[in-house]
C-alpha cells in the first residue's frame, strides 16, 4: 500500500513552484517576453522576476527583498506596438505577453552628507544640500516613473515651498529605487532630497512624547534594576504564574 502523505508533505508539494525552480510540465499557460531583446517563452501568471528566473537568469543584482519594499528590482519595459516606456518593480509586476524589458542594476545618484542635528528646520537646508531642486520643470515625468504611484512632482514642489509636512507625507512610501531620478530632465535626486526632508520632519515636526522621555530617564537611572534582579532569580514555576496572571489592557 502506498504510504499516505503527511500534512507537511502536502504543504511542501503545493508550494514547490515558489520554493524551487519551476518544472515546465506543471505549466499550462504561456507568454512570450523579451529580456534585453531576446525572446523567452515563460509561464503566464509569474512576476517579471520569477519569469526571468524561469528563463534561466540567476540574479545577483536587481533582486532584493522580492516583496516590494527595497527597490532593488527597478525595471523598464515597453509592450510590443506601444511607444511608451513604463517602469515597474520586477517582483511586484505580473509578466505580460509581449513585454520588452531591462533592469536597472544601479543608480549612480548623488547623496549629500549632513548632520541633521545641526541644520535649521527650514527650506534652506533642502536647497543647501540639493540646490538642483530649483531646476524642477514641473513636467511630471518623475510621478509617471514612480512604481509606488507616489505624486513625486507634488512633493518636489512642496519642498521648494519648504512644506516639510507635505514632502514627508507625500514621499513616505518611497522605496528609493531611483527611477524618478533617472528619468528627471532637471537632474534632481528626488528620493534623496525627500529622505533629508523626512528626517528633518521626523525629528523636528512633532513634539517628543513626554512618557517616552520619562521612561528613558527611568531606565538610565536604573529604576528597573531591582525588579529585574528579582525576576532573573525566579523559578520556572514563578515565571509561568506571572505569565498566566497577566492582566490584558482593555482594547
Amino acid at each position: 500500500m502506498k504510504k499516505q502523505k503527511s500534512i507537511m508533505e502536502i504543504i511542501a508539494e503545493a508550494n514547490k513552484a515558489v520554493t524551487t525552480g519551476i518544472d515546465e510540465k506543471d505549466i499550462e499557460y504561456w507568454v512570450m517576453i523579451y529580456i534585453m531583446g531576446r525572446a523567452y517563452k515563460v509561464p503566464a501568471g509569474l512576476t517579471i522576476m520569477q519569469a526571468m528566473e524561469y528563463a534561466g537568469y540567476r540574479f545577483i543584482r536587481s533582486a532584493g527583498c522580492r516583496a516590494g519594499f527595497c527597490g532593488a528590482c527597478a525595471t523598464v519595459f515597453r509592450k510590443i506596438g506601444d511607444y511608451k516606456l513604463q517602469t515597474a518593480m520586477a517582483c511586484q509586476t505580473k509578466v505580460e505577453d509581449g513585454m520588452y524589458l531591462v533592469q536597472i542594476p544601479f543608480t549612480p545618484a548623488e547623496k549629500a552628507a549632513y548632520n541633521i542635528g545641526k541644520e535649521p528646520y527650514d527650506v534652506s537646508v533642502l536647497f543647501k544640500y540639493y540646490p538642483e531642486l530649483a531646476r524642477c520643470l514641473s513636467c511630471n515625468t518623475c510621478t509617471k516613473a514612480c512604481p509606488q504611484d507616489l505624486e513625486v512632482m507634488d512633493y518636489v514642489q512642496a519642498a521648494i515651498k519648504g512644506d516639510f509636512t507635505a514632502v514627508a507625507e507625500g514621499s513616505f512610501e518611497c522605496i528609493q529605487c531611483g527611477l524618478c531620478a533617472i528619468r528627471c530632465p532637471a537632474e534632481i535626486v528626488q528620493y534623496n532630497m525627500a529622505q533629508l526632508a523626512r528626517r528633518m520632519f521626523g525629528r523636528y515636526g512633532s513634539k517628543r512624547p513626554e512618557s517616552l522621555s520619562k521612561r528613558v530617564k527611568e531606565v538610565k537611572e536604573g529604576k528597573y534594576e531591582k525588579d529585574f534582579r528579582k525576576l532573573l532569580s525566579a523559578t520556572m514555576e514563578e515565571f509561568k504564574k506571572l505569565y498566566a496572571d497577566r492582566e490584558r489592557e482593555k482594547d
Binding site: M8, A17, E173, V219
Partner: protein
C-alpha cells in the same frame, strides 16, 4: 521572425475583483457572517489548548529535523536544511588563499548591512572609533535585508501603564520560557532608548494629534506597545539609519559576501570576502568582527514559502559555527501565520500582524471566526494549519494551496472608513497590483517561513564565546527563545546592533592588538567533515537560493 504565444487559455478562468469566480463565490459566505462576527472574538487558548494545537506546527510535526553531528553543538537538533549547511564543506580549499597581505585593515569589520549592522557602525563611530577604521560589507546592496521588510512595528514599553518588566514577561511566555534572561532584559530595558534614538535620527512613527505615539497590540502582548510607521516600519527605520551611516561616510562595500572567517586559534581576526561579480577574493584583517547577516528563510525549511529577502541563506551561522561559535535554540523556526496564499505572484509574502492588531479576523471557508486573532505566532499558525488540513475548512486556490480568509474589511468597519488606506498603504498596494481591494474583500492566508528563532549565542553585549566575534540581530539566538513576538525583531536588531557597536569600540580602544590571519579552524573542520563522510559536493555558505527553471538547468553547459 517572432512566434507569439498569446494568453488564450488564461481567458477560460473568469476573474471577479481579482479572484477566480469560485473563490469570489466563497467570499459571500464570509460577508454573510461579518455583521455577527464584528463584535465577537473567539477566546484566547488555555496553555493546554495551545499545547494541543502545536502538534500540527511544522516544528512539532514528525520529521524535518535531525541531530547536528559535527562541531560545538554536536547532538543538538536543527532543521534538516540547516544541519546540512552546518555539515558542509567550505567554498575554498586550504592553500588556495594567500593570507599574507590583507587588502583591508580595520578596527571593526561588520558583516551585513541591515538594521543591526548599520546601527553597530554608527554607535561604534559615536564611541570614538574613526569612520575610516570601520568597514561594513554587504552581500547584496546595503539595506537589502529582512529588516527593510518589517511591517508591523517595534515594541517598547514607554507608556504609563506599561514597563520593561511587563514587556519581559510577555516575551518570555511567548518564547515558551526558553529565552536567555540576561539578553532579554537588555532587549526590553533598552527598547525606550531605541525609540528615542530613532526620533533623534528623524524616524516618522505614527503619531496622535498631540504628538503621542499611536501604540497598538501585537500577538501575545498584554499591553499596547507597538510603534509603527504605517506598514513600512522596517523600511522607515532602515532608511533613516542608513542615511545617517552614509552621511557619516563610513566605508562600505556591496556585493562582497564573506565566505569564511579568519582566525588565530580561538579568536576571530578577520574575514575572507568574495566579489560576487568578478570572483576575486579579498582579505580583511580586523580587530573586532560583528556578524549581522540575518536569517535563513530562503532555505525554505520543510518546503514552506518565505517572507524573507533574497539573501536570507543562513551564511552568518554557517561561517561562525565553523570557526567555533556556539549556537542555541536551533530546533525551532518561526512561521508567520499570515503569508499570502493567493494570488500566486505573492505566495508566502508577509501580511503584517498589525492587520489583526487592528481588527482583521481569521475566518474559515464556512465564515466562522475559529481562533483568537492574536495568539503568539506559533499557536496562531498552528490553528490555521489545523483548520486547513485537519478540519478541512480551508479554501483551495487554483495552484492547489489551502488557506483561510483574513477578513480585512473589518478593519474599516471597526476603525472607520479609510483606515486600511492610511494604516496599510503597503499591503493595499501589493494586493491592488494584482487586482484585489483588501479594504473591500478578504484576502487568503497561510503560514509562511518567517524567522530564524535560534542562532549564535551571545551575552547582553552581543559577544560570542569566541574572542573578537560579536553577533547582532536575527543571526543571534537566545533573546526570543523558541518563538519571537511581533515587534521584537526590529527592536532586537537595533538594541544589539548598538550594544555590539559600543562593545567592539571599547574592545578596540582598550589597545587590543590584531591577531594572526589563518584558516586553521577551517582545516580542523574539514577533517571532521571527512571523518563523518559528508558528501564532497555539499558546500556552504550557499549565498543565494536558486530558482532557475528546471528545463534550462537540464540543458546548461558550463563553457567558461
Amino acid at each position: 521572425m517572432t512566434v507569439f504565444i498569446r494568453e488564450e487559455k488564461m481567458a477560460e478562468l473568469k476573474f471577479i475583483e481579482g479572484y477566480p469566480e469560485y473563490m469570489y463565490e466563497l467570499i459571500k459566505v464570509v460577508e454573510q457572517t461579518r455583521a455577527k462576527r464584528k463584535d465577537y472574538t473567539p477566546k484566547a487558548m488555555t496553555m493546554e489548548e495551545r499545547e494541543d494545537v502545536l502538534k500540527v506546527h511544522p516544528d512539532y510535526a514528525e520529521g524535518g529535523k535531525r541531530a547536528i553531528n559535527i562541531g560545538v553543538n554536536k547532538g543538538d537538533i536543527a532543521p534538516n536544511e540547516v544541519a546540512d549547511l552546518l555539515e558542509a564543506y567550505p567554498l575554498i580549499e586550504e592553500g588556495e588563499i594567500d593570507l599574507r597581505k590583507p587588502d583591508y585593515t580595520t578596527d571593526i569589520l561588520i558583516i551585513g548591512g541591515g538594521l543591526a549592522g548599520t546601527t553597530a557602525a554608527i554607535w561604534a563611530n559615536d564611541q570614538g572609533v574613526p569612520k575610516e577604521n570601520i568597514l561594513l560589507v554587504n552581500k547584496l546592496r546595503h539595506g537589502d535585508a529582512n529588516s527593510i521588510m518589517a511591517q508591523g512595528g517595534t515594541q517598547a514599553a514607554d507608556r504609563e501603564n506599561d514597563s520593561p518588566v511587563i514587556h519581559f514577561i510577555d516575551a518570555l511566555g511567548g518564547g515558551h520560557f526558553t529565552n536567555k534572561p540576561d539578553v532579554l532584559q537588555t532587549l526590553v530595558e533598552d527598547a525606550p532608548l531605541i525609540i528615542d534614538w530613532l526620533i533623534d535620527l528623524g524616524a516618522m512613527f505614527d503619531r496622535e494629534e498631540n504628538g503621542d505615539f499611536v501604540e497598538i497590540w501585537g500577538g501575545g502582548t498584554c499591553r499596547k506597545r507597538m510603534h509603527a510607521c504605517r506598514d513600512y516600519t522596517g523600511l522607515e527605520e532602515l532608511r533613516v539609519i542608513r542615511d545617517e551611516f552614509k552621511s557619516r561616510e563610513i566605508p562600505s562595500l556591496e556585493y562582497e559576501p564573506v565566505i569564511e572567517l579568519l582566525t588565530d586559534s580561538d579568536r576571530v581576526t578577520g574575514a575572507l570576502l568574495w566579489n560576487f561579480e568578478t570572483g576575486e577574493y579579498k582579505i580583511v584583517e580586523a580587530t573586532a568582527t560583528i556578524i549581522a547577516t540575518g536569517g535563513f528563510g530562503r532555505l525554505h525549511i520543510r518546503g514552506f514559502p518565505t517572507t524573507n529577502h533574497y539573501g536570507a541563506t543562513c551564511d552568518g551561522v554557517v561561517i561562525a559555527y565553523r570557526a567555533g561559535a556556539r549556537l542555541r535554540d536551533t530546533d525551532t523556526v518561526q512561521y508567520h501565520p499570515t503569508g499570502a496564499a493567493y494570488p500566486q505572484q505573492i505566495i508566502g509574502l508577509l501580511l503584517t500582524e498589525k492587520l489583526r492588531s487592528m481588527g482583521a479576523q481569521p475566518v474559515n471557508k464556512d465564515g466562522e471566526a475559529f481562533v483568537f486573532p492574536l495568539e503568539p505566532r506559533d499557536v496562531e499558525a498552528s490553528a490555521f494549519i489545523r483548520e486547513c488540513y485537519v478540519r478541512d475548512k480551508g479554501v483551495v486556490t487554483p495552484t492547489g494551496m489551502r488557506g483561510v480568509w483574513l477578513d480585512t474589511p473589518l478593519i474599516d468597519i471597526k476603525n472607520g472608513k479609510g483606515t486600511v488606506d492610511k494604516a496599510f498603504p503597503g499591503m493595499k498596494r501589493m494586493f491592488a497590483r494584482f487586482g484585489i481591494d483588501m479594504a473591500k474583500y478578504p484576502v487568503l492566508v497561510f503560514p509562511t517561513l518567517h524567522y530564524q528563532n535560534g542562532g549564535v549565542e551571545t551575552d547582553p553585549w552581543g559577544k560570542t564565546n569566541l574572542e573578537g566575534l560579536w553577533v547582532a540581530g536575527e543571526v543571534s539566538g537566545g533573546v526570543h527563545g523558541k518563538n519571537r513576538l511581533m515587534g521584537n525583531s526590529t527592536l532586537d536588531c537595533i538594541v544589539f546592533g548598538r550594544k555590539a557597536g559600543i562593545s567592539t569600540a571599547e574592545y578596540v580602544k582598550s589597545g587590543k592588538k590584531r591577531g594572526k590571519l589563518t584558516l586553521e579552524h577551517m582545516k580542523k573542520y574539514v577533517k571532521l567533515l571527512k571523518e563523518a563522510g559528508i558528501p564532497k559536493e555539499r558546500k556552504a555558505p550557499i549565498l543565494l537560493p536558486d530558482y532557475r527553471g528546471k528545463r534550462v538547468l537540464a540543458r546548461m553547459i558550463d563553457v567558461f
